[in-house]
Symmetry: C2
Subunit: 221 residues, 2 copies
DNA sequence: CCTACAATCCCCATTTATAGGGATATTTTG
DNA sequence: CAAAATATCCCTATAAATGGGGATTGTAGG
C-alpha cells in the first residue's frame, strides 16, 4: 500500500478526537489529515483540503453532523463519511444515508469496527453498526433487491422546521409551557399552540417529550 | 518514578475507552489497569483489584457514574475518581464532589487535561475543567475559606429515585403518557400519576420535559 | 401581480398533566 | 419486631396540551 488513507475527524469532544488519533497511529494504512472541533471548522477544512474519509460526530453544537452533510450535498462536494453517534436511531440513520453518508457507527462500538469502517468506506462500501443493520433490515424488509442499496430507496425525510418553530422548540425543551413561551416571544399563547401543532406534525412525534428529545438529539439546547 | 499510576476506565463507549487507553500508553508514568463497559463490571472490578485512579463516565446505562460513586461510598471503598461528562452541569458536579469524586472533566477538554487530572487526583488534589471552576466559584462565592474545600460545604443533593420511579421516568422519556405507562406496568393510572408527582418533586423539575431531560442527561433511555 | 408560505390569532372539544388531599398493604431495614 | 420506605390506589380540581377547524397579515419568489 503506497498511499495511506487520509482521515479527518470532526467532533466537539477533544478527548474522543485525540483518542481516535491515537488509534489511527496504530494502523499503518491510515494517517490523520486534520481534525475539527466544530462544524464550521470542518466546512472550512473540506473546502481547502482533500481527505479520503471523514469521521463525523452527529451531535456537534451549532452546526451538527446533519447540517454538515447538507452543506456538502448542496455544494456537490464528494465525501466518504462515517457518522459517529451516541444513539442508535434508525430515523437518523435513514436521514444521513439519504444525505450521502456511507457509514454509521455507534460510539459504543469497538475501535476495531471503526478501523474496519474506515477501510470499507474508503472503498465506497457501506458500513453500519450491527444493531443498526438489524433495524435497517427490519425497516426495509429483506428482499435482495432492497438490501443492495439503501440510498436508492424512498426515504421520508422530516419536513424542515421554520426559524420560529425552532425557537419555540428550544423553549419547549427548556421546560417552558405555552403561556411562558408566549410571554418570552411576545406573541399570543394561541400562536405558540399553533407552532406546537406544526412542530408535532413535522417531527412526527406524539407529544412535547418527543419535541424535547428531538432537541436533545440534535444538540439544539 | 518506580511505580506507574494504575488507571482504570469505565465508559460504555468503547471507542472512547480505547482512545484513552492509547493516550495512557503515550505517558510513561501511567499504566492501564483494566476497563469496564458498564457500572456493574466496574463494581466487580473494584471489589477485586487495587487501582490508583478511576476514570468514570457519568452517563452509563443502568448503573450510571452517580450510582457507582454511591456504591463506593456505601461500602467505604477508597477511590480517586475523575468523572467524565458530556455536559458541564454544575448541579451534577456538586453531587459528585459530595459523593467523593476528586475530579470532573468535560469530554470536550483536551486530552492533556485528562493526563494532568490523573496525576493531580493521584496526589489527592482536586481537578476541574476550566468552565466548571468558574461556575463553582460563582456558586460558592469567592471567600478564601470557601474556596479551599468544596466537599465540606452543604450541598443539596437530589433525593434518590426508587426503582419503580425510574421505570416510570424511563417510560415518560419514551413519550408514553400516564395511561399507557399504567398499561405497560400493569398498575392503575392513578399510581403512575403518584409516581409522576414524586419524580417531579425529587428531581425538582417543573414538568415532564424536565423528567425526560434528566433521563437523557443520565443516559437512562 | 399572484401564489405560496410563514407567522399570527382565534374557537371548540377532548385528553393529559399537575397539584392538593388521603388511605392501605408490602418490603426493607435498623 | 418496629419503624421507615415503597408501592399501590383513590378523590377533587385546575392547568396545560392536543387535535380539529378557520382566518388574517405580510412577504418572498416566480
Amino acid at each position: 500500500m503506497r498511499n495511506k488513507i487520509k482521515v479527518h475527524i470532526a467532533d466537539d469532544h477533544k478527548i474522543l478526537i485525540e483518542g481516535i488519533i491515537a488509534l489511527i497511529k496504530t494502523d499503518n494504512s491510515l494517517e490523520l489529515d486534520g481534525f475539527s472541533l466544530t462544524g464550521k471548522e470542518l466546512l472550512d477544512w473540506v473546502s481547502k483540503n482533500e481527505i479520503d474519509v471523514l469521521i463525523l460526530d452527529i451531535s456537534m453544537p451549532i452546526i451538527d453532523g446533519i447540517e454538515v452533510l447538507k452543506f456538502l450535498k448542496r455544494k456537490n462536494i464528494p465525501h466518504k463519511t462515517i457518522l459517529l453517534s451516541s444513539y442508535d436511531d434508525v430515523q437518523i440513520v435513514k436521514k444521513v444515508l439519504q444525505l450521502g453518508a456511507l457509514g454509521y457507527l455507534s460510539k459504543s462500538s469497538a475501535s476495531t469496527h471503526l478501523l474496519k469502517a474506515i477501510k470499507m468506506v474508503k472503498n465506497n462500501e457501506q458500513y453500519f453498526s450491527n444493531d443498526i443493520q438489524k433495524d435497517l433490515l427490519h425497516l426495509y424488509g429483506n428482499s435482495n433487491s432492497k438490501k443492495r442499496n439503501f440510498k436508492g430507496l424512498e426515504i421520508d425525510l422530516l419536513e424542515p422546521l421554520t426559524e420560529r418553530e425552532i425557537e419555540v422548540l428550544k423553549l419547549i425543551a427548556k421546560e417552558y409551557n405555552s403561556q411562558e413561551i408566549a410571554e418570552l416571544l411576545i406573541i399570543s399563547k394561541h400562536t405558540v399552540e399553533s407552532h406546537r401543532k406544526s412542530i408535532l406534525r413535522k417531527l412526527n412525534v406524539k407529544n412535547s417529550i418527543g419535541i424535547a428529545m428531538f432537541a436533545v438529539k440534535h444538540n439544539m439546547i
